[in-house]
Each structure stands twice: as structure tokens, then as C-alpha cells.
Amino acid sequence: MADTTYTPVAGDFELLTGRDVVADENFASQGYWKSVATIFFRNRRAVVGLVLVLAVIALAVLGPLLSPYAYDQIIRDPVNEATVAKGIAPPGTAQGPFAGKLFLFGTDDLGRDLWTRTWQGARVSLVIAFVTIFIDMIIGMSYGLISGYFGGIVDNVMQRFVEVAVSIPSLVIVAVLAIFMPKGMGLVIVTLLLTEWIPMSKIARAEMLKLKEQEYVLASRTLGAKSMHIIFRQILPNTIGPIITQMMFSIPMAIFTEAFLSFVGVGIMLPQCSVGSLISTGFNNISTLPYQILSPILVLALQMLGFNFIGDGLREALAPRLEDM
């Protein structure tokens, strides 16, 4: 019989290095949001998105402040008032009367500084998007939660209304609104308010249907909690993850809608500017001053990319599949 009492020595083991080693991480001891953050920040694309969005926000806040010109100021030569700094191509170190002045993105067809205008436009777009989506979130979330919680005939009526509302293309809403509203920022905001709450309400309702049968809801009901208390104090905090994810997709949608409406000519009006209206004027001058369209397009594209990446990352972090853990 062979000797079975062999004691292993250190030399019997070999240290594995490189990709075969999988570090075990224990998520059980972490809080929910901490594990979400861990997964989110491990996602390279999501981090890139976050950096992009933060950079654009920072520049939208700081850009116009850093510039010596106002966004609607036509820059003139102090010696000869008739000379306007128009059509200076980036990176605008112009000759002649404007020598020594820096126009990083150039100047537009009327002699306004594009650096200031671009970031001012980004500011307008971001403010519109954040404000409307925040209000839409409150409306849509309440609507969906209430509809899902009560169920039955309340749910049925509320969902028929959503069905009709969702069947109206947003273009038609814009057109009807344009009849009795002046074109401009108000029109854009009202259009967004009327359309973007619907996806929020759908998600909130789906979450509610999932959560309302859980024990803690039954427990509070047994203890005599009112419906509104259960909906908004007990269930709402548990739906916040998917809602925030939806917000990250709604914000670029809102930015896009604003840009689209301004491009078509019913959005932001001159001398105000937004990313969309800048692209529109840039497009009109594309054959003479082609660079004019570049900066707003880049800013718009970076914003959209950034928000979409964050949304994707959040969605994965909030609903982690086994392989991501």
C-alpha cells in the first residue's frame, strides 16, 4: 500500500500569474450604491461618457465667463468702427486690425466670437434639457406609480390616455403649439414637457407592478399606511435606479429635440443661441465659412455620446448580470 500521509511542501505549488488569476470580490458586504458605483466605474465606456459630459458642462459654465466678449456682441475694430471681425477662421489669430486677439473657434458671419457663442449655446441646451427632464421625471414617475399601484379601472383609464398620447408624433404637437405660442424657447420646453414624461411613466409603472406585491408593502399596509405614503415613501425610493437610467437617455433626447427644432426654425430665436440654432446658421453659411458649423456640431455630438454612454453604463451597473460581477 502506498504511503498516503504525504505532507505537501511549498515547492509543490506554483503561483499562477497573469490573466488566469481572478480576484474574488465580495459584493455582499457592500452597500447597493457602492456596488453600483464599482461596476459603473469599472466600465471604461461609462467613465469616458462621464468625463465627456462633465467637460462639456464645465466649459458651458466657464466658457462664456472666460471670454472677453458677450455672446451677442459684434466685435468691432476700436479704431475704425465699420470694420467687423467677421469670418476669422480658427484658431483665430487674425492679421490686420484684430491682430493679437484670440478667437479659438473663429468668428461667425456677423463678427461674433464663436467660442462664446458655442458654450453659451451648450449652456442653453443643457439648461433646457435638465429642467424639462427633471419636471418630466416628476410627472411621469407619479403618473406611472399611481397607475401601477391602483391597477384595475384606474390603471386602465390612465393607460388608454397614455396610448393616445404616445400616438401623437411630437412634430404634430409642435405644429399645434406653434398656432398659439410664440416660437422660441417656450415652445421647445412645452413640447418636451408634453412628450418626454411618457417613457418615464412606463418605466415607473413597470417597476411598481414588480414591487407592489412584495412583503414590505403588505407590512406597511397592515400597519395602516395610506396609499400615497406607500407609493411615494416606500416604493419610490426602490424605483429610483431605473428612473435615473431613463433620465440619462431622455436628456440627450431633449438636447436633440431642441437642436432639431432650432435647426428647423421654430426653436431658439436670434440673437439668443443654442447648439441647434448655431448649427442652423452654420449650415446656411457652409459654403463660405465652413468652420462655423464645426464647433456646435462637435459639442452636440460629444454631449449625445457622453449621455448615452453614461446611460448604458448605469443600466449595466443597476442590473448586473452574473458575468459582470
Partner: protein, 316 residues
């Protein structure tokens, strides 16, 4: 199945009717003057209002209007294209829009499918990466950025293709607009096809078929594609919506005389043309609702599992 279809058709018609009613009431009741011209005296405006029947009760007006619409009569514009019946104007514009939109859908689906299939078959290699980048850009970056760049590159920098759309040279001048319009569909379909294919290729029945010795084209055609293609029908909905809004921009950029441009003309000018807004609103809503209906029915026809589920719960 027949019951399900009937029910869906009925709800769609009711929805369309409700929307039409809402639009009509909004357009008629909301404050505002349909005749913004300053040269018209009060008396002239009153005459015009009487002629158009604007002083009757709204419900009477509504049913008169519906009666007209059912006969294909949308009335005349209040400030746009004076005198021409809206029907003929819309018919001309719709022809341009639909022909370009149709080509765009064909291009988008064909190229998108091809790209998606190739990416899935070359999973993890260059083509797959290219497909991913392409679809991310297509979804995230607004379409008109590409439209403008395409026009700038191919019409302005290299005069390869005409700057504007010209119905008399349809084929030649519709290349750029239709490609522009198809980009979004292309990217969505490519991404969707790729993901579906990858998923199906990893399923048990494909592994079974492989273990029985089936390889290559036959396997892909008979087992993978058939099942991967089913969910693609669901992405048609967002594509049509995008086509409606995208068409607006494409028509502006390429100067196409289509319904999108008509829509912009009716609201973006000095005054708003009430009758065009109404007619186009109904048209757009009908298009949208019709597409949704078609997708639902198509889905039931293609995938028997949906049919069973739907009839099991009595529709809905």
C-alpha cells in the same frame, strides 16, 4: 388571430379619431388669428370666416370637416399656396417624401442586415468593432450632422452628386438624401442583427445542429437567421418615427419639396397655416398609428409564439 387583428384595428381607428378630434378642437378653439395679413380689413376677415364656416359651433365644423376628409377633401390653406386644394399639394409632396423614404428604408435594411450578419460571423474581429462603432455613432450623433457632412463632402468639395434634389433627375439626385435618411435605420438594424445573431449562435438548437455536422451557409441560413430576424420587426417602429423627423431635416438640407418641408413651411413662416397644420397633423398621426398597427400584426404573423400568447389572453 382574426379577433386579435380586428381588435387592434378597431383601437387604432378609435385612437386616430380621438387625435383628429383633439387636433381639430385645439386648432379651432385656441386663440389666434388664421389670417395674419395686415392688409385685410375687419370686414374681409369676417367674410372669409363666414366663407370657411368658422363661426359655426365647433362640433358642427368638426363633423363637416370629417365628412370632407373622408372624401379626401382637406379644404384650402389659409396662408400657404393660396387657392390650391391641400389635397393636391400634399399629394405632390407626399410622392417625393415617400419615394425617398422608401429607398432609404430599403437601403438601410439591406446594408444594416448585411453589416450585422458579417459582424456576428466575425465576432471579436475588426468588422465587429467597426459595426459597433458605426452603430454607436449612428444612434448617438444626431442624423443631420451626417447629412450636412455628406452634402458638404460629396456635393461641395467634390462635385460628385447634385447639391439639391431634383425630381426630374430622380435617381441621380436622390442618392445623397436617401443615404442620409437611411443611416439611422442602418445603424440600428446592424446592431440589432448582430446581437441577435450572436445570441442565437450560442443557443442549444444551433449547437445541436452543429454537432450533427451542419456547417457554414446552410446553418446560418436555416437556423440562425430565421430566428434572429424575428425581433428585428420590433425596431421598425422607432425607425419610422425617426424617418418622419429625419425627413424634415433631410428635406430642408437637400431642398426636397416633401411633406416635412410642407410641415415646416406651415409653422415656421410669418403666420401659421391652420388648415395645413391640421391636415398634416392627421396625416402624420395616421402614418404613425398605421405603422404601429402593421408591426403588431406582422409580429403575430411571423412569430407563432406571439399569436398563441395573444389569443391565450384574449388579445391586448
Amino acid at each position: 388571430m382574426a379577433k386579435y387583428i380586428l381588435k387592434r384595428v378597431a383601437t387604432s381607428l378609435v385612437t386616430l379619431f380621438l387625435i383628429t378630434f383633439m387636433l381639430f378642437v385645439l386648432v379651432r378653439v385656441m386663440p389666434g388669428n388664421p389670417f395674419p395679413s395686415e392688409r385685410m380689413s375687419a370686414e374681409q376677415i369676417a367674410n372669409k370666416r363666414a366663407e370657411m364656416g368658422l363661426d359655426d359651433p365647433v362640433l358642427v365644423q368638426f363633423f363637416r370637416y370629417i365628412g370632407g376628409v373622408l372624401h379626401g377633401d382637406f379644404g384650402k390653406g389659409t396662408s400657404l399656396y393660396f387657392g390650391a386644394p391641400i389635397k393636391t399639394v400634399i399629394a405632390t409632396c407626399a410622392y417625393n417624401s415617400f419615394s425617398i423614404g422608401g429607398i432609404a428604408i430599403l437601403e438601410g435594411t439591406a446594408v444594416g442586415l448585411l453589416l450585422g450578419i458579417l459582424a456576428a460571423l466575425n465576432k471579436g474581429r475588426f468588422l465587429d468593432g467597426f459595426c459597433t462603432v458605426f452603430s454607436i455613432l449612428g444612434v448617438c450623433v444626431p442624423g443631420y450632422v451626417f447629412f450636412i457632412l455628406l452634402q458638404y463632402c460629396f456635393s461641395f468639395k467634390i462635385s460628385l452628386l447634385p447639391y439639391f434634389f431634383d425630381p426630374s433627375q430622380f435617381l441621380y439626385s436622390s442618392v445623397l438624401p436617401s443615404i442620409s435618411l437611411s443611416l439611422f435605420a442602418m445603424s440600428i438594424i446592424a446592431r440589432f442583427t448582430r446581437n441577435e445573431m450572436v445570441e442565437v449562435m450560442d443557443s442549444d438548437y444551433v449547437h445541436l445542429a452543429e454537432s450533427k455536422g451542419m456547417t457554414g451557409g446552410l446553418l446560418v441560413r436555416r437556423h440562425v437567421l430565421r430566428n434572429a430576424l424575428i425581433p428585428i420587426v420590433t425596431v421598425i417602429g422607432p425607425l419610422v418615427v425617426n424617418l418622419l423627423t429625419g425627413a424634415l431635416v433631410v428635406e430642408k438640407i437637400y431642398g426636397i419639396n416633401g411633406i416635412g418641408k410642407l410641415m415646416v413651411d406651415s409653422i415656421a413662416g410669418q403666420g401659421v397655416d391652420y388648415n395645413y397644420v391640421l391636415a398634416l397633423g392627421i396625416l402624420y398621426s395616421a402614418l404613425y398609428i398605421g405603422t404601429m398597427l402593421l408591426i403588431d400584426i406582422l409580429y403575430g404573423v411571423i412569430d407563432p409564439r406571439v399569436r398563441v400568447a395573444a389569443s391565450g389572453k384574449g388579445g391586448a
